[in-house]
């Protein structure tokens, strides 16, 4: 079984649109939306939820005001400024480290389970999908990404699926690292703007750092052909294959509004280009066997 993760360094490059299109070109794959902070894939694939499990991120501290004498030892020892002066806990800042519980002389602090999101096992018209929802202000998105991937892996085993397709989170931080861990290939979607080039460089540093093979797709390439050339030559220097280029077009938005993938929406030049990209990605996935 292979794992493909689609990432972009930043949102808005068309990553989810491309993930959905790939999902509609594969058979026997598991689809995983690892962009748990702001998932969008379900808007196109319209999954029907089969079962939901609660996700617990970190435990957080809870202070029993009956027992608390107000000695402030906890406040002094919390490295995250998570305890207010009135000895209540700021649940956004609390990292759940347990230091306050350890230092409190009155045993007034307990660590409690903190539900911070849900993971869904669902069915779509293109096969099983795992997705999640994170509650606002919850930091454990890296852990939730890992939970989504674990669900996807067990579904893949059950279904003897050949491939897991992950729509990755934006950025270069914790959730992205969780999403690319264990992936066989990262498809990086970029666009030829100055910031796109910059984000591409950063995300390639990340995939290099974690030794994940990468392949690039340039979206909206005709917005700035000079920048596109620059991306192509820097990919060549770095030994990264450019799987293909997609033009700036109204097709992705129209398909999105119609809740269809680009492939489903209509057979046109755009969908043909995408099919070619998928062929290259697929052979790259197999070659790294």
């Amino acid at each position: 079984m292979k794992q493909l993760v689609i990432i972009s360094g930043k949102g808005g490059t068309g990553k989810t649109t491309i993930t959905a299109a790939i999902a509609s070109m594969t058979e026997n794959a598991i689809i995983a939306d690892c962009d748990v902070d702001a998932p969008n894939l379900h808007l196109i694939l319209e999954p029907e939820i089969i079962d939901t499990s609660d996700f617990y991120g970190m435990e957080i501290a809870q202070i029993d005001s009956e027992k608390c004498t107000g000695c402030n030892i906890c406040i002094e020892n919390c490295n995250f400024d998570a305890i207010h002066t009135d000895h209540s806990i700021n649940s956004c800042k609390c990292e759940g480290c347990g230091v306050c519980e350890y230092v409190c002389p009155e045993n007034a602090i307990k660590m409690i389970n903190n539900p911070s999101g849900s993971v869904f096992n669902s069915m779509t018209r293109y096969g099983p999908m795992v997705h999640a929802e994170l509650m606002i202000g919850e930091e454990a998105s890296g852990k939730l990404v890992t939970a989504v991937k674990e669900h996807a892996a067990s579904l893949a085993n059950e279904n003897e699926a050949e491939l897991i397709i992950c729509d990755g989170p934006p950025g270069t931080g914790c959730p992205v690292i969780a999403a690319i861990t264990g992936a066989d290939l990262a498809l990086i979607v970029t666009e030829p703007s100055l910031s796109g080039i910059h984000d591409l460089e950063r995300i390639i540093q990340v995939t290099d750092h974690f030794r994940i093979p990468a392949i690039v797709c340039i979206n909206k390439y005709n917005i700035n052909e000079g920048n596109t050339k620059q991306i192509e030559s820097s990919c060549e220097e770095n030994g990264i294959m450019v799987a293909g280029k997609l033009p700036y077009d109204t097709v992705p938005n129209k398909a999105m509004i119609g809740k269809k993938t680009i492939i489903e929406y209509e057979d046109n030049e755009f969908s043909e280009k995408l099919r070619n990209i998928w062929r290259k990605v697929r052979s790259k996935l197999c070659e790294d066997q």
């Binding site: 702001a38 990292e95 347990g98 230091v99 350890y102 202000g137 950025g171 914790c174 984000d199 999105m256």
Partner: protein
């Protein structure tokens, strides 16, 4: 006055709005809190000087004092220390720097070791035409964005107008960024994805009780669902930036569009004054 620019997700034009707004105002500060990918300076193109380093503490084991009692690894909730018979290992990338292991070690075998997780930079020199930019940059492979953002925000001058570019998403880095701002502009696109992310962003600012309004970017490229949502939910639409190839082109070259399309400067100034009139708080002395 502190105005944050946020969006449920990246790529909606948050940085574009932040930069163009800051450029339209006199003497504004621009604070780039998207520390995983600070992009504002790609449009300002100024020299940056390093101001400070943001560091955190990770444990360093003095092995000759260690008895492999496991107290530290049992305490650590982040699996950043492992003890196996006659061996102890640390995993610095997992460490949250809580300091707990040092407290629990009965042998004093753990020392603090500072590592740099990010840096804060600011524009050097004086350029009256361009806002003063501060940015935070998280090191690759580091996961703790909030401490870098908190350190960065210490540079906000309460006597000035600060335009704060927030990170994408709805997690802690965003909340750390939005804490104590006076107003929040949410940037969105008129598509189903844009609407979905906007709903999340509105939930965040409502939870934090921050006054807010919307800028629709690439207006005309999608459908009406964002406008309908704003009407039904009583959210103010502050401005629409049209779907325009000239703007997209300038963006791709890293040129803020107010520089080439002067009339937009006026629009941003008006936008700012209308927000200031209604929401600016008295500056505390």
């Amino acid at each position: 006055m502190k105005i944050a620019i946020a969006s449920g997700k990246g790529g909606t034009g948050k940085t574009t709005v932040a930069v163009n707004l800051a450029l339209s105002l006199q003497d504004a500060q621009l604070i780039d809190c998207d520390v995983e990918e600070p992009n504002c300076n790609l449009f300002l193109n100024r020299e940056l000087d390093q101001l400070t380093e943001v560091s955190s503490m990770i444990p360093e084991i003095v092995e000759e004092n260690c008895t492999y009692c496991k107290k530290c690894s049992d305490f650590c909730r982040f699996n950043a220390i492992a003890t196996i018979p006659n061996k102890i290992l640390t995993f610095p990338t997992l460490c949250h720097s809580c300091g707990g292991c040092i407290m629990v070690c009965p042998e004093g075998a753990i020392q603090e070791h500072e590592i740099v997780t990010g840096i804060i930079r600011k524009t050097s020199g004086d350029d009256k035409k361009s806002p003063e930019l501060y940015e935070g940059l998280l090191d690759i492979g580091q996961t703790m964005a909030s401490p870098v953002i908190s350190e960065l925000k210490k540079n906000i001058d309460p006597g000035k107008t600060s335009i704060i570019d927030a990170p994408p998403g709805t997690a802690c880095p965003v909340l750390t960024t939005l804490e104590d701002v006076d107003y929040c502009i949410l940037v969105t696109e008129p598509t189903p994805f844009g609407l979905h992310d906007l709903k999340l962003a509105v939930e965040v600012v409502r939870t934090l009780e921050i006054p807010h309004g919307i800028i629709i970017n690439r207006s005309g490229s999608g459908d009406n669902s964002v406008e309908e949502f704003c009407m039904n939910e009583n959210v103010e639409i502050l401005m629409k930036i049209p779907h325009d190839t000239k703007i997209a082109q300038l963006y791709s070259e890293g040129i803020p569009f107010v520089q080439e399309m002067g009339h937009w400067k006026e629009k941003f100034i008006q936008l700012y004054s209308s927000i200031q009139d209604r929401y600016s708080r008295e500056i505390e002395t």
